[in-house]
């Protein structure tokens, strides 16, 4: 809402300058967004009459004009590009040396200082200005033509407050009363403890108006005035300025007056051309099915039951509270006007406005609630202005009310416990202080039996319905800064949950391995690459921001790959990223089923009725491409590989699992998956279920993304680990007795077909080695003539120990024999 300061001052006593006022407003619930001074700096601008004009000799579109300001400075000659004036018109003339605020200067700066200059051979003594050039409107199609009675030679300053400050505020959702000059004036009076007033309005004429029948509770009051002999011309300059200050465009005096009063008093009004209203009689009713109405904007609107219409004797003529109808619109030919001001139920207006996608200044005010007592005054105010400005003669008025008053229009009394207000605010505010503050806000307060106060809010304060609302009003007017600052002594023990600790641990492990944490937007299009447990299931958005962001990510891989692409595009020789976050799947999805199989269904979220909502488990994803260090290193180990990712996932699984529980180790199974290298991709499994995937991008996929190979990606569902950790964390790790006898080292090499996975060979060695095995690791992989085509030899080193004795060569031999036997079972042979 834009508030011209000069207008505010008409309705409230203000001792403050605009900066002081803006500061007070911001601290009192009237959030100031901007203060502007349209027209500021204008000088050397005065009114003048057109004495003569003729076409410019050398330019069709220019006029050569003679003006007089009748101020003793004789006639001047001006060249003008507009054509909307004639001899005798009063126009606004900016003299050489004058400053025109709405014209860009030669260097693009705001405003231009004029000098006499030659235009196509003719000297122009300044210019004739448009509304836009003067910043009293945005019309620049023609010059500003004033009322013929305007005194000549008058400075613009004498006609209107040029450069009047305009304070723009953000209106809170519950303060519809701030959508008017009067509403803000009233609130300022309450805040500053000063006086406010309403504009003078004429008394009602004796004659009767058009009969009105209210057939719905959604209208509580309907006021009309009948005006005859109206001359619908342009509006005076002061009114155009005010409309422009408030961001509205002047149309004609009838429309402008209704808009001006709406801005001033907050009550939307409508003017019907009474000669085009049939009957004439009006009925306010709900629309019937399949009704149509062409609104003022020329759009044909299909109405549904529940929409409110104003009906003349034959048809709907207005979409109540939202927009008038085209058939009864006021025009320059209009002679008789029916002014209407009504009070509509907010929720009904909002529903219609939303359904039709049609928001107007009127609907905006009605859906926030107008003053139910204010409609009659507003209609009278508009009638008075039309009497003054359009020659109108009021011949009748009328008002219809819904009896009894609908509940939504009422302002019920609130019982207030002043002691509770003191306790809530921690303020020693006496009962009298509290009552005084509420009375400043316009409320009527009475003491009741039992020490309570009965508070009746003013009709314009729809937001004061409960004791909490009154508490806020009291502290708002008293000053939020009066509330002391006290640290509460919380009776609770703070901290993270065990699951949150695990998440931090997981992140830390990825960071330690050199991955930077990324955060990507979790929206994807239809061509996202698969990640863990792929499916076509998507959590789709009903109103996505873009088609390539129409669903929530089913996996974190796509987002990270796009981030990798960004970095490659920036010329990075390599990048490694980790992201923690949720992926999103429908309730029925293979991924959800896999998680259910691992941890039961306790991890799923539901709504308050226990109905399922999309599944959204926590995931940790990694992606890396290119060199680990700066550019130039040539050896293979300097590039990120699948192995780097596997190492991180293994560490995370181990760190997040219960101690000493091998059942939580991830197993890796070679798989093929769309978009991934068929020989370099593994499923990460827990209890036989896939909970992660890791691999290198397929060369074609890298190519499609314009990324140099290799690109490695993977993700791991953290949810199984987070769901399994007890509230107080995993049990503490127990110390193991350190074996003091020296350990024995034994090397073995197994030869097997390539197809036999290392994991299988290792398991065979472990099975064979038995309880003496303390640790093992592989240290060589050999392919070549000695082992034969399609085969390989894998060498492992074992550390054996026994807590009770020193091992001997016999132990080593027995162990090797046992390993040889176990190897046979998996199709491998021990190299002796």
């Amino acid at each position: 809402m834009k508030l011209p300061l000069s207008w505010l001052r008409e309705l409230v006593d203000l001792d403050l300058d605009v900066d002081e006022l803006a500061a007070v407003m911001s601290l009192s619930g009237l959030e100031v967004e901007d203060v502007t001074r349209p027209g500021a700096g204008a000088s050397g601008i005065r009114t003048a009459r057109v004495l003569h004009w003729e076409p410019h000799p050398d330019a069709d579109k220019l006029r050569f004009v003679r003006l007089t300001g009748e101020g003793g400075d004789g006639e001047v000659e001006v060249v003008c590009g507009a054509a909307n004036f004639d001899v005798g018109d009063v126009v606004v003339h900016a003299l050489p040396g004058g400053f025109v605020p709405g014209v860009a200067g030669p260097d693009g700066s705001k405003g231009l200082t004029l000098d006499a200059r030659r235009i196509r051979g003719v000297t122009s003594q300044g210019m004739i200005a448009s509304a836009k050039e003067l910043e009293v409107g945005d019309d620049h199609t023609g010059i500003l033509v004033l009322d013929p009675d305007t005194p000549l030679g008058a400075s613009l300053d004498d006609l209107i407050p040029v450069g009047d400050p305009v304070i723009e505020i953000a209106v809170q959702a519950d303060r519809g009363d701030h959508l008017s000059i009067l509403g803000v004036a009233r609130d300022l009076a309450a805040i500053l403890d000063t006086e406010w007033r309403v504009p003078q309005v004429p008394t009602e004429p004796d004659g009767s108006s058009v009969p009105v029948s209210l057939r719905t509770d959604a209208c509580s009051a309907f006021h009309t005035w009948v005006l005859d002999d109206v001359q619908v011309g342009g509006s005076p300059l002061w009114m155009r300025q005010r409309l422009a200050q408030c961001g509205m465009r002047p149309i004609d005096v009838a429309v402008d007056v209704t808009n001006l009063v709406m801005l001033e008093l907050g009550q939307p009004l409508h003017a019907f051309d009474l000669d085009r209203v049939r009957g004439p009689a009006l009925t306010v009713r709900e629309a019937e099915g399949a009704e149509r109405l062409t609104t003022l904007d020329g759009q044909q609107r299909d109405l549904v039951a529940g929409d409110l219409v104003i009906d003349d004797a034959e048809r709907a003529v207005s979409l109540a509270g939202v927009m008038g109808g085209g058939d009864t619109e006021v025009s320059s030919a209009t002679r008789r006007i029916l002014l209407e001001g009504a009070v509509w139920e907010p929720t009904t207006i909002r529903a219609t406005s939303r359904r039709l996608g049609l928001t107007s200044e009127a609907s905006n005010r009605f859906e926030r609630g107008v003053d139910p007592q204010g409609a009659g005054r507003a209609v009278a105010r508009a009638a008075g202005l039309l009497q003054d400005l359009a020659g109108a003669r009021a011949t009748g008025s009328g008002a219809a009310f819904t009896e009894p008053e609908p509940a939504w229009a009422g302002r019920p009394t609130v019982t207030l416990d002043t002691g509770r207000v003191r306790r809530t605010l921690a303020l020693e505010l006496s009962d009298a202080d509290q009552v005084g503050l509420l009375e400043r806000a316009g409320a009527a307060v009475e003491a009741t039996d039992g020490g309570m106060r009965s508070v009746t809010p003013p009709s314009w304060r729809r937001d004061l319905r409960r004791p909490a609302d009154l508490t806020e009003e009291i502290v708002r007017l008293h000053g939020y800064d009066q509330v002391p600052e006290v640290m509460p002594a919380l009776p609770t023990t703070g901290g993270r949950t065990a699951a949150q600790q695990l998440e931090r641990d997981a992140r830390q492990l990825a960071l330690a391995a050199g991955f930077h944490e990324a955060k990507t937007r979790p929206f994807v299009g239809d061509d996202a690459i698969d990640g863990v447990v792929p499916s076509d299931g998507r959590v789709r958005l009903a109103n996505p921001l873009a088609q390539d962001a129409a669903a929530m990510r089913p996996s974190l891989v796509e987002g990270l790959l796009q981030a990798v692409r960004h970095n490659h595009g920036q010329g990075r020789p390599g990048v490694a990223l980790v992201e923690l976050g949720r992926c999103f799947r429908p309730v029925q999805d293979p991924l959800a089923a896999a998680l259910d199989a691992v941890i039961g269904d306790g991890w799923r979220w539901t709504d308050p009725d226990g109905q399922p909502i999309p599944v959204q488990p926590q995931v940790l994803a990694l992606a890396a491409q290119g060199l680990k260090l700066g550019d130039g290193w040539l050896d293979v180990d300097s590039r990120w590989s699948v192995g780097d990712l596997i190492a991180v996932f293994d560490r995370i699984a181990r760190q997040l699992s219960p101690p000493d529980d091998d059942a939580w180790d991830l197993t890796r199974v070679a798989i093929e998956r769309d978009g991934y290298h068929p020989g370099r991709t593994a499923s990460l499994r827990l209890r036989g279920q896939e909970i992660g995937v890791v691999g290198q991008l397929h060369p074609e996929e890298s190519d499609r993304r314009d990324l140099p190979e290799p690109v490695v990606v993977g993700e791991l569902l953290l949810e199984p680990f987070l769901a399994a950790v007890p509230a107080d964390g995993h049990p503490p790790v127990r110390a193991r007795t350190l074996v003091r006898h020296p350990a024995m080292t034994v090397d073995v090499a197994l030869v097997a077909e390539d197809a036999v996975a290392y994991a299988t060979l290792e398991q065979a060695v472990r099975d064979g080695a038995g309880p003496l095995l303390d640790e093992l690791w592989w240290f060589d992989e050999y392919r070549g003539a000695q082992v034969g085509e399609g085969r390989r030899s894998v060498a492992m080193r074992l550390r054996l120990q026994d807590p009770d004795r020193q091992l001997t060569d016999d132990d080593a031999e027995r162990t090797i024999d046992a390993i040889a036997e176990a190897a046979e079972v998996v199709g491998a042979t021990l190299r002796r």
Partner: protein
């Protein structure tokens, strides 16, 4: 006797001439080994008469002692030289950066979020979390945001298809509803997480952002407690000399409601207030809807935009930089 004297002279000269430990060892073998002149002299001792043998023995001992002393001295010299040579040859330029992948950095938003959480944890708040695709009941209804309340429209909600009433949560307050519907006071939680609005992306808007919301519900919680808590937070995050300012505002879930500014002192005497969060006393309707008796309990709640705090504190000018994962940005913080 002359032969031993000569031998000794030769031997000591040879020891002195040895340049390396290997040469020295050769000298030892040459003069005292099995095939050395000394060895021959020793072998010939058996043929001597006892008197001579005794004298010869003494002379031999003298030779050995002289040899050993010279040898040891030279050995020590050469060993020291060899060690010095080795150490010199092993010299490394330790100003060369090690070829190690440096650890990655947590995202700026993570750092700021964790720091903020730690401040509140220190006061006694517990961390709680909830889903991002959330039931409208938790996101709106239980928080006193009626279906056709203007505030609900203003939140620019993104809706999930195929469900009756599931939205991308517009704030992390639905976590508060989840906690309040399942726990009785005293409740003190902070709820971090991602939130969503249907905002087009530009330098100051993102459809995805993150918040920390806080809730304290107990007996006799006052607005002074809210102010005290937020002041302590502002000082922990922005500096001990900061002040806060509450401005009346409107949120459906709090009454009274406030926007909260923190003071700043910039260069050149430039000082003023920056808006950092919204807060208020929990609306009695919210308590009632969540099954908590508003006549017995009261509470306060606040919501802080993590992006906003991060951008203010670290002078990030474009919110898009937080989400494009540029490694230069990520490594910076």
């Amino acid at each position: 006797m002359n032969d031993l004297d000569a031998l000794q002279r030769d031997a000591l000269a040879a020891i002195e001439a040895a340049e390396h430990l290997d040469d020295l060892d050769e000298v030892r073998v040459r003069f005292t080994g099995k095939r050395s002149e000394l060895s021959a002299i020793q072998k010939g001792m058996g043929e001597l008469d006892p008197e001579e043998r005794k004298a010869r023995g003494q002379a031999l001992n003298a030779f050995r002692q002289a040899f050993q002393a010279a040898f040891d001295a030279r050995h020590e010299q050469l060993q020291g030289a060899a060690l010095r040579e080795r150490l010199e040859s092993e010299r490394l330029d330790l100003t060369l950066p090690p070829r190690q992948v440096p650890p990655g950095r947590p995202h700026l938003l993570t750092q700021v979020e964790q720091e903020m959480l730690d401040v509140f944890i220190g006061m006694g708040f517990r961390v709680a979390e909830g889903p991002e695709a959330e039931s409208g009941s938790y996101n709106f209804d239980l928080l006193n945001i009626e279906p056709d309340h203007p505030a609900r429209q203003e939140m620019d909600t993104i809706y999930v298809d195929g469900f009756d009433d599931v939205v991308l949560r517009t704030h992390t307050s639905p976590v508060q509803s989840r906690v309040m519907t399942t726990t009785q006071p005293p409740i003190a939680v902070v709820c971090p997480g991602r939130t969503y609005r249907a905002d087009a992306v530009d330098a100051t808007h993102s459809p995805v952002f993150s918040q920390i919301e806080g809730l304290y519900v107990a007996e006799d919680v006052t607005m002074a407690h809210l102010r005290g808590t937020l002041l302590a937070f502002a000082r922990a995050m922005f500096g001990a000399d900061r002040k806060i300012r509450l401005r009346p505002s409107f949120f459906p879930f709090t009454e009274p409601s406030a926007e909260v500014d923190v003071s700043f002192d910039g260069p050149g005497g430039n000082h003023g207030w920056l808006e950092i969060l919204g807060a208020g006393m929990v609306d009695p309707n919210v308590l009632t809807f969540c099954g908590i008796d508003p006549d017995r309990y009261s509470g306060f709640a606040f919501g802080i935009g993590i992006e906003r705090v991060a951008m203010l504190r670290h002078q990030v000018r474009d919110i898009r930089e937080l989400f494009e994962a540029d490694a230069r940005f990520l490594a910076r913080f």
